[in-house]
């Protein structure tokens, strides 16, 4: 598996939020992958990127692939998630007004990532940050 894209995400930078995920989408499209798969991966990357911008300290995102599928990994050194089970519930949010003005913070981010990925795992430690990995298979 080789990493084909890696970039930094800056916390609270709502203006540039999403640029990394759009790069990922562009890279995937150039590989002539199935359009629905590209859409699912792009959405997951974008939601994860927005989460770092909204909640994180700064973070990084990487995309790797091999013949079987794509892996997206995201880490941030933000304040971490208090209760992961609660955060995974649709509609639960701790996002502020700034995120909501951008059309986010509806408590849909993590559920959308779970829904659109083939494998999803999240680990978080209070005051240290959050790590998540999402996998997508080419042939399901």
């Amino acid at each position: 598996m080789r990493v084909i894209r890696e970039f930094k995400i800056k916390a609270k930078d709502f203006i540039h939020a999403g640029e990394g995920s759009m790069e990922i989408r562009k890279a995937l499209k150039s590989l002539n992958l199935n359009a629905e798969l590209v859409r699912r991966i792009s959405i997951c990357a974008y939601e994860a990127e927005m989460n770092v911008v909204i909640h994180g300290g700064d973070g990084t995102m990487s995309m790797a692939l091999d013949d079987t599928g794509v892996v997206i990994e995201v880490t941030d050194n933000g304040s971490g998630i208090d209760d992961i089970d609660l955060a995974l519930k649709e509609g639960y949010t701790t996002a502020g007004v700034e995120a909501q003005q951008m059309g986010f913070g509806a408590g849909m981010g993590l559920p959308n990532m779970v829904r659109n990925s083939d494998f999803f795992k999240i680990e978080s430690e209070k005051d240290y940050g959050t790590y998540l990995i999402m996998c997508f298979k080419f042939n399901k």
Binding site: F14, A17, S42
Partner: protein, 118 residues
């Protein structure tokens, strides 16, 4: 439905992408919450109707593969957002109709909701 028909039905102003009016719209979605559009719905080629003029309305359209954006209630994005939309080839229109009227007019002219698409 073609984007040119959307413009006609909504009496909309084309803010950018007047060379893209020939594109075919697969369905419609209306929301000010971007995450709602990023669920498991067939957004590819669809039209986004929104009152949200932030840069994330454009980014969401790019990520979700949407074909064009219509800003309702006469809203117009600032120049930086227009140029961002041009870079990503997302045509943008603005209509003075509110969200309810815009959706109703498009629906009664045959544009389906994306939730009903196969």
């Amino acid at each position: 439905m073609k984007l040119s028909e959307v413009r006609e039905i909504l009496n909309a102003e084309v803010i950018s992408g007047d060379d893209c009016l020939d594109i075919e719209i697969t369905g419609g979605a209306a929301s000010d919450l971007m995450s709602v559009l990023l669920g498991k719905k067939p957004t590819e080629g669809a039209l986004l109707l929104t009152g949200l003029t932030s840069i994330q309305a454009i980014n969401t359209s790019v990520i979700a593969g949407m074909a064009a954006v219509v800003f309702v209630r006469g809203k117009k994005p600032d120049n930086a957002i227009v140029s961002h939309a041009k870079t990503h080839k997302i045509p943008i229109l603005s209509t003075s109709y509110n969200m309810f009227l815009s959706c109703g007019k498009l629906y009664s002219n045959g544009l389906k909701s994306i939730t009903w698409l196969p």
